[in-house]
Amino acid sequence: MNIFGDLLRGHTDMILLSVLEKNDSYGYLINKQIEKLTDNEFSFTEATLYTSFKRLVQLGYVTTYWLESDSGKKRKYYSITSQGLQYLTVQNQEWKKIKTIIDKIIKA
């Protein structure tokens, strides 16, 4: 489980940007979406999530804004930028390449 988790954490930026590609979201909801997509097999801690988003904001791939929900809770939303989308495209291409290479090795 640790190796599995570490492998996924190595691709944190790509995972987070992929979730944001669909629509803007906030920390808890992003994690919920990841849990749902992975059948509750994986989620990030607040610490990982926060530091990753901090880095993505600094790199200009993501922007933030605050919104108040119907229940009155203030939430920090993350939104992917055009730069972020370009970066995600490159990351997706690289991932596909790596996957093909590893598949070739394993299946050989």
Binding site: Y28, E46, A47, Y50, K73, R75, K76
Partner: protein, 377 residues
């Protein structure tokens, strides 16, 4: 429960110095609260929901902006109390020997018993954890506790046992003198020679016991390496030092020592005590001493009064160096000690002892401050 989550997050991020730390806390509290609501809705168990929600927070100490060092935490084991008691009693026993030899010996013995019970129980516990629970981290943590307390105890035991052995030999010599009808040892004219010989015996015994303890310690360290695979071991004393001076050496602690009034004020208090004691001595409170005794007069007005004046000038800030006063005081106490040696005054030895403590304290302060300034660079 929201406040409990808020308190926890605020506590965990109490050292966070980042610019937007309030916003950061608000965001994390919001996310954890949402997580809490979700788990509570499923289980209807407040405590479970709280613990699970808090677990999702993760470790923020990995963030480079946070200064806290993460400590390993395990539920305290009852046998650790015996280790702590053993270490405290080992230090206390050494002090007791100076006051009462028998009581000191009993305390040292209690310290060894307490440490042995704690160590053997904790060792068994660590073996059980290794073999049954397969938790090597916890096993190493317990073994580390045993050896780090042992390191501190060893130092005090080595000194205490050498002292006790020396006193035992002294008593044996005294009994031998009395048995051979040479009279009490204290009536011998050449008392200084006996004292000198005993001092040599003490040093020899002390070195022998140190060698025994250090070889025993080396063997145990090899065992420690074999058990845990770790080479370095920090004693409890060193941990306390690190806790007080290095790792948590923030500006608040530094300011206590660096205050300009600190050393001159203590010098003034000690000098005033010394002056009062000398006055009592000269007024005959302690017995029939000549009121115009030259030694007392010199001690009072040539030595103590100038020290008091220097201390006051230093406190007022007119005299810049705060380190001069304790040294002046140390020199003056040596002079008083010599001058009043034959008068059985406590002013000499007590003031000399206080001066030594003050100067040692100041030297530690200087070393710590130098280390701090080097760290800052």
């Amino acid at each position: 429960m929201y406040n409990k989550i808020k308190e926890y997050v605020n506590y965990q991020l109490r050292f966070d110095t980042s610019e937007n730390n309030q916003e950061k806390k608000e965001e994390i509290i919001g996310n954890i609260s949402d997580r809490y609501d979700e788990i509570f809705e499923k289980n209807h168990d407040e405590n479970l929901a709280y613990v699970e929600a808090i677990k999702s927070m993760g470790d923020f100490t990995l963030d480079d902006k946070i200064l806290e060092t993460k400590e390993k935490s395990y539920k305290p084991n009852i046998s650790e109390m015996f280790l702590i008691a053993g270490a405290i009693l080992s230090a206390f026993g050494l002090l007791m020997i100076f006051l009462n030899v028998v009581a000191g010996a009993v305390v040292v013995m209690l310290s060894i018993i307490s440490f042995s019970i704690g160590a053997s129980y904790l060792y068994q516990e660590s073996q059980y954890i290794k073999n049954e629970e397969y938790d090597i981290d916890k096993h190493n943590h317990y073994v580390n506790k045993i050896f780090s307390y042992m390191k501190t105890c060893f130092i005090f035991w080595a000194i205490s046992i050498s002292l006790l052995l020396t006193l035992l030999i002294y008593n044996l010599i005294a009994v031998a003198f009395m048995a051979s009808n040479l009279g009490s040892i204290t009536s011998i004219d050449d008392f200084q020679l006996i004292f000198f010989l005993l001092a040599i015996v003490f040093v020899i015994l002390f070195l022998i016991s140190l060698l025994i303890f250090s070889s025993l310690y080396k063997r145990l360290m090899k065992k420690y390496y074999l058990i845990t695979g770790e080479e370095k071991l920090v004693s409890v004393g060193q941990k306390i030092k690190q806790f007080l001076f290095l790792e948590s050496f923030d500006n608040k602690i530094k300011l206590i020592f660096i205050k300009n009034w600190f050393y001159p004020t203590f010098t003034l208090i000690f000098s005033l005590y010394c002056f009062v004691d000398l006055i009592l001595l000269s007024t005959g409170t302690y017995g029939d001493i000549d009121r115009s005794n030259l030694a007392i007069l010199i001690s009072e007005f040539v030595v103590v009064v100038p020290t008091i004046i220097i201390s006051i000038i230093a406190i007022t800030g007119k005299f810049k160096s705060r380190f001069v006063a304790p040294f002046v005081y140390l020199i003056s106490t040596i002079v008083i000690f010599i001058l009043t040696f034959s008068l059985y005054s406590m002013a000499g030895p007590i003031s000399f002892l206080s001066a030594i403590v003050l100067v040692v304290f100041m030297l530690i302060d200087i070393i710590v401050n130098l280390k701090y300034s080097q760290q800052k660079k």
